[in-house]
Symmetry: C2
Subunit: 597 residues, 2 copies
């Protein structure tokens, strides 16, 4: 069959168009790569390089947070760039190690060593990918802004607290918020002078670089002169180098002290294994500290972390994608698949769980990334660093890394959410503080679950106690109560409605009118409640009228009992009451004549 | 201070009035006992006696369901009448042993013997009483009509299934629905002829008595002749005696066969310990089948039953109180206290957990009970029976009791709820069948929890996917989308709203108007979502207007960001759009002049 010259496309053409659409949805790279230019490449190169300067110290630092040897942090930064470039839909996102993911796998690493982190990366990847296939992305909608803020703040405070000892050169692990502070105060006398000085200097310098940013701008500002704009450009790019500057500075001091003066004033990161990671399947069993863990033993050792890790990874990722999508619609399914594949691929090169990083994505965006090729550049830079620079990494002072993390965590804290919630909905402070405190004092997992639970009870409470507007009128010498619920009525409110009406509309012979204009739907329990109300009121010589309800609700109530259906009316209130007065007059006459007969 | 002669009551008088009110709320007997007459007493006597005839066989039968010696069922029927008479608010209620309570304690009796039932009676009493003090009665509102129907039906089917073997004279226990049927089919060959004949005859006769009721009436019917009315009265009272007739008949046959012909064609109840129960504290530890259970061991043996038993007791009780309160407002707190005290007092005379019984309450009401004195009569009758009649009880054939239970369970099944839900809200069939199947196949506890969970997700789903009415207009040569959500907006819907608007209102330069007339409130997450929407739309050269929102919502959104507050308008749609068109014209001019300068 030759291609038809008519306007209507042939069925075969439609098929191929649909397939093309599906393929380009699943491989977003197809849509933009053909029009990629060398000019765009240079912009991506600059951005990718800047992000790399941030990712190297962060990778090493987060590996330490997780309790892993430093090189694992660098391994974790490799695969995200390549995979997300092909499957990801948002140009700025940097997928790699993050502080929160590091904190989550920490306990698994303690019991099962690096294998504990690598296997959960693989499993999380599978879970996230499957969640994408099953279109479960909507689940993130159950995480409200107060709960996410509370969780993020708690995680940032926990991580910063665990870094305090490194900052002061005090040895020994401290994995939880409270433990970290208790152990800090116990061992405060062990503080090493030079480590503490370097740590606080690091914090000071990184903060100062952050402040410089305010005076710079990458965009042309019309109110500035030409020179001021040039200076602005320079200051902005310079401010992004803060982390790199302190790490290079700290490392240089340590190197010079060690090699020229044979002194080691700081605790150093120590040997970082050089070279590329092995390409191999994730470990499905492991022997660590003399204990053998089979696959099922590893699974039971993970426990709830196995559900928590992929959920938080996706939550962090989607929050960042949302923040940087700028008006584009997010394809949550595609993002889940991209993130899942990044983790699966990462687990083949001994990565810990990865997700979108807020700081590095912001740096990427600020440095002018144009496509996800910028992420590929960053990944390539990490590969180069692994091959060539690990010899230098061992001189990085731990206090410097701790300082870098503490500042990053400072900016991650969302205490500014408190005044916002105070100004907007003060009730939302309850899930915020509950999540925050439970995450700090119990665990991140329980904290977020309790927070969501409390937040959902707000919805359930409103459904159980709908707002009722009661009006008392005199019409045609009759007392009329008009009751106006302002939401759908659910079974949880059925009893409340009935009691409220029996209590508040007590005058005998009065007529109760329930105005259904704002009630889009009811359920079977409410319909039964209406029928009970009708019977109760009849015993009190009162009548109830259901006014202005839509057809669906009328049908539902007629289904409960035919008699109930007879009390539904539409029209003006006056005509409806006229109508019912006549009817009851006829009924009374009929009853009287009955008795007389 | 002497009592003041003025109209205003003195403070002391007010105090005493309030105290009087509180006392009569807590001891309802005070309000009606002073006006109690001998005429009322005779009516209560008749009703109480009729209920007693039902309660004796039911008590023995339910003790067998629970796995207890028969006399415990009679012990359980003693205290409810006295306590509820003093503290209860609904004249018809009969508090005593019920089939569902028997089923619930069955597993505890299996492991810990009668003490297992008595201690949980005491603990349930305390829990129910405390729930009253803490005003937790509202919790029953989370049990919707479909869930309660599903649960009741499943319990009735389970109990009837466990009785089938007794009906056929097959020995051996079977405690769960599936087990009961499997074991029945395995042992069907053991069926005893005379037991089966007696069992099915019992069922037939009880059903026949129930049918007679249709032709009788206690109330005077004007359309009937005088003689027909007298016959109606007789038939009605006669029909209530069905249970008594089959039990007395069955027992007589067994007695004659045993004493005159020295034959035992039926399996008999066997010795029922005579005499009154000991008055003693509940057992706080027990040795049963050679195992010693300390108090804490008993608690852990109860497990979730300890929460489930009081909840179901109260649920059953309040459902019955509601059904018989006839327009009176129910004091849930007082009912909780009365039921709690009935259980606590019951545990002192070796009772199993008690609650309101639907069948006996209906009999009480139908027999013309006037006050809760009727319950006292019933209790006295049980005491007399325990002292004088236990010698006769041992001849009651088990098949007769099984037949009585099977018929009672038939009337407890709520399959008629299915066509009602089909006609009203079909979606409600999901929680009904889920509860029913989970209760039958997993356990009553899990079944009802799963049912409630599913039912609550309906509310959460509606909150997450609010109905939006989108209208596309042309006004002043501009495309206007008017979007009208019809409910409060919660965090779970924030993302849905944003995506919906970005997707459905795509035309560039168009104006989106969100009509807030039907939106009583929003939360902080929705406010943030609105702000993100605003920013997203600006990038697409679109504007959004928030129209007709109330002041609370406007304040919440202004709190999120001052800029957002500027997009709220009230007034007619035309004037609002005029307004915004002018404003944007000014802004455009300002921007153009900026660029030129």
């Amino acid at each position: 069959m030759s291609s038809s010259p008519m306007d209507e496309p042939s069925p075969r053409r439609i098929d191929s168009a649909i397939i093309k659409k599906i393929v380009s949805n699943r491989f977003p790279i197809i849509s933009w790569l053909p029009s990629y230019t060398i000019y765009l490449f240079f912009q991506d190169l600059l951005a990718g390089f800047t992000v790399g300067l941030t990712e190297i110290p962060q990778g090493i630092a987060y590996a330490i947070v997780a309790g892993l040897p430093s090189q694992y942090g660098l391994y974790s930064a490799i695969m995200g760039g390549f995979i997300y470039c092909i499957f990801g839909g948002c140009k700025d996102i940097n997928v790699g190690p993050t502080a929160i993911m590091a904190l989550i796998v920490q306990s698994s690493v303690t019991t099962m060593g690096p294998s504990g982190a690598i296997l959960i990366t693989f499993l999380s990847g599978i879970i996230i990918f499957m969640a994408g296939v099953l279109r479960l992305g909507f689940l993130v909608q159950f995480f409200s802004f107060p709960v996410i803020s509370g969780f993020t703040t708690a995680a940032a405070l926990s991580i910063a607290s665990t870094q305090l000892k490194q900052l002061l050169g005090i040895s020994g692990p401290a994995s939880i918020f409270l433990d970290a502070w208790i152990s800090l105060f116990k061992n405060i006398k062990e503080t090493r002078k030079w480590d503490a000085i370097l740590g606080f200097m690091t914090i000071f310098i990184v903060f100062a670089f952050r402040e410089i940013k305010k005076y710079g701008s990458l965009k042309h500002k019309p109110e500035w002169s030409r020179n001021r704009n040039l200076l602005g450009n320079f200051l902005f790019i310079f401010s992004l180098a803060g982390n790199a500057v302190v790490v290079i500075g700290g490392t240089s001091i340590a190197y010079v002290a060690h090699n020229s003066y044979n002194a080691t004033p700081f605790i150093l990161t120590g040997d970082v294994a050089g070279g590329l990671p092995d390409l191999s399947l994730p470990p499905f069993s492991v022997t660590w500290n003399g204990t053998y863990y089979s696959f099922s033993a590893m699974l039971s050792e993970y426990g709830s972390t196995l559900a928590f890790c992929p959920i938080i990874a996706f939550l962090e990722h989607i929050a960042i994608v949302k923040a940087f999508s700028k008006g584009k619609i997010i394809d949550a399914t595609q993002e889940l698949m991209a993130l899942g594949l990044s983790n699966i691929a990462g687990s083949l090169v001994q990565s810990m769980p990865v997700t979108g990083s807020f700081t590095r994505t912001a740096v990427n965006n600020a440095s002018g990334a144009r496509t996800t090729i910028a992420g590929v550049i960053t990944s390539c830079m990490l590969l180069v660093a692994l091959v060539l620079l690990t010899g230098a990494f061992k001189y990085i002072p731990k206090a410097t890394l701790a300082g870098v993390i503490v500042v990053a965590m400072y900016y991650l804290c969302e205490f500014d959410a408190i005044p916002i919630m105070w100004r907007t909905k003060r009730l939302d402070l309850i899930p915020f503080f509950t999540t925050l405190m439970c995450c700090l004092l119990i665990s991140l997992e329980y904290g977020i679950i309790i927070g969501i639970g409390i937040n959902l009870t707000f919805i359930l409470y409103d459904a159980a106690r709908p707002k009722l507007y009661v009006e008392r009128l005199m019409l045609q010498e009759r007392i009329i109560y008009v009751i106006r619920p302002k939401a759908s009525l659910y079974f949880t409110s059925a009893e409340f409605l009935r009691e409220k009406m029996l209590k508040d509309c007590g005058e005998s012979e009065s007529l109760i009118v329930i105005d259904g204009e704002f009630v889009p739907s009811v359920d079977a329990t409410v319909a039964r409640g209406f029928f009970n109300l009708l019977q109760d009121l009849e015993l009190r010589h009162q009548t109830v009228l259901f006014w202005n309800f839509n057809q669906t609700v009328t049908d539902i109530c007629s289904g409960e009992h035919k008699k109930l259906g007879c009390f539904f009316r539409n029209g003006t209130l006056e005509s409806v009451i006229n109508d019912i007065s006549k009817q009851s007059a006829i009924e009374t006459t009929a009853r009287n004549s009955d008795v007389q007969a």
